[in-house]
């Protein structure tokens, strides 16, 4: 089936098998490997991207379902080499160790801040329930989201 979609502002038009997962489209067709495949079972959130402004798990969506959609991946956040405030904050607050979960964490964090610009710690943790990190113990990730909210990610 022929699908048209926009990824990070760039248009893609491609014939795909309906069973192709969105994450495989992103990584293998579009060559955007910033989005990671972790669990493959809808639980870890490493594959999180934004679809029409909503954070979704790209391992649990077929590419055909994204026909006509606007997608933003972690590669789409920086603007002309300037990191997004959430990326800055993850850097400054040491919100990552191995970095495997980070693209998904950043996309989920952006969703939290889009909907609630000054979340409490509890709200940040609630917003990250769909994302698993095996390294940090989450505290620095939560700090990073709070720092980004406070505009301290500069």
């Amino acid at each position: 089936m022929k699908i048209n979609l926009s990824i990070n502002g760039k248009s893609y038009s491609q014939d795909v098998e309906p069973r192709l997962l969105l994450i495989h489209f992103l990584r293998e067709v579009a060559g955007l490997t910033g989005t990671h495949m972790g669990c493959e079972t809808s639980l870890c959130g490493a594959c999180t991207v934004e679809l029409n402004g909503k954070a979704i798990k790209s391992c649990t969506m077929f590419a055909v379902q994204a026909n006509g959609a606007e997608i933003v991946t972690v590669e789409g956040l920086a603007n002309n080499g300037k990191l997004d405030p959430v990326q800055e904050a993850f850097w400054n607050e040491h919100g990552l160790q191995c970095g495997f979960c980070t693209p998904g964490m950043i996309m989920a964090s952006k969703q939290i801040l889009d909907r609630n610009p000054s979340p409490t710690e509890e709200e940040v943790r609630h917003g990250l329930e769909g994302n698993v990190c095996r390294c940090t113990g989450y505290q620095h990730i939560v700090n990073a989201v709070k720092a980004a909210a406070a505009g301290a990610g500069k």
């Binding site: 089936m1 098998e17 309906p18 069973r19 997962l21 493959e40 079972t41 809808s42 639980l43 959130g45 999180t48 909503k54 954070a55 979704i56 798990k57 649990t60 969506m61 077929f62 055909v64 379902q65 026909n67 989920a108 969703q111 939290i112 917003g127 329930e129 769909g130 994302n131």
Partner: protein, 284 residues
């Protein structure tokens, strides 16, 4: 994990979808239950019909003194609906307790109800709300109550070729308080048990109580013995404990690696007591 080959159609109208379903296709809504099953090849539909592309199925509105929710309203749309927060806070509270943000952004009420996972959250609230479901086939439409809809684990009264088109819930008056209390299974977010309570008071006496329970048995049910134990009383802490103890009575409880049957029954009573107290405290 690649699903078996299938054909995919994104219809624009309900009629087009129902026509395809009548010839054996399967509906796809948020995909939050169906796609994991297809990846594990526990499900291998030959033809998927995407309901999310049908604009007419996505709404939340008030009409005729009731609330009408279209099948593809997502958990997030329900959780963040100002109309529902004001007129049916039990549904917003329940939606907010489902899974995680990403699942709530995609998953739909129609998909959750049709899937009838014994640990799903909505069914408890929908039992307590005495919700009605409008089911459509290519040439039919019927309305089924929540009490009659859930038959067994993953089994409902939906016939092949039928879809759940709309969920209808009542608007309660100000003397009604509601609460949903859930014991979360931490890996998935599903309910180990979940209890939804809806109580109305008249001159401080409980005039009406509805209690829906999920996670405990093969499908969500109404705990009528516990409801009767509250009605007519100005319940003391003791009365609440006694009523809560009845929610699991005589139930053939599920047992799995997360909770044994006895522990689940205990949790159901604990969460029922919390939900009753919290619902009463919310009556304005």
């Amino acid at each position: 994990m690649i699903a078996q080959k299938f054909e995919y159609t994104a219809p624009k109208s309900l009629d087009e979808a129902l026509h395809l379903l009548a010839s054996g296709a399967k509906p796809l809504a948020g995909g939050m239950s169906l796609i994991p099953m297809m990846k594990l090849r526990l499900a291998a539909p030959e033809h998927l019909v995407d309901l999310r592309t049908i604009k007419d199925l996505n709404y939340i509105r008030e009409a005729g003194g009731q609330l009408h929710i279209g099948a593809t309203a997502s958990h997030y749309e329900i959780e963040s609906s100002a109309l529902l927060r004001q007129k049916c806070p039990l549904l917003t509270e329940t939606a907010a307790a489902i899974g995680d943000v990403q699942v709530r952004n995609m998953g739909t009420i129609g998909g959750s109800v049709a899937h009838a996972d014994p640990a799903a959250d909505y069914p408890a609230a929908l039992q307590a709300l005495e919700a009605k479901f409008v089911l459509n086939g290519a040439k039919s439409e019927r309305t089924v109550s929540a009490a009659d809809f859930f038959v067994d684990a993953f089994t409902t009264t939906l016939e092949p070729g039928e879809i759940l088109r709309e969920v209808i819930v009542p608007i309660d008056d100000a003397r009604t308080g509601t609460s949903y209390q859930k014991m979360v299974q931490p890996a998935s977010g599903f309910a180990i048990v979940g209890v939804a309570v809806r109580v109305r008071q008249n001159a401080r006496k409980v005039s009406f109580a509805r209690i829906g329970v999920t996670g405990l048995s093969n499908h969500a049910y109404r705990a009528t013995a516990a409801e009767k134990a509250l009605e007519g009383k100005t319940p003391s802490a003791n009365d609440i404990q006694n009523a809560a103890a009845l929610v699991a009575q005589g139930v053939d409880a599920n047992s799995d690696l997360h909770a044994s049957a006895d522990y689940r029954k205990h949790l159901a009573a604990v969460h029922a007591a919390r939900a009753i107290k919290s619902a009463i405290s919310r009556i304005t």
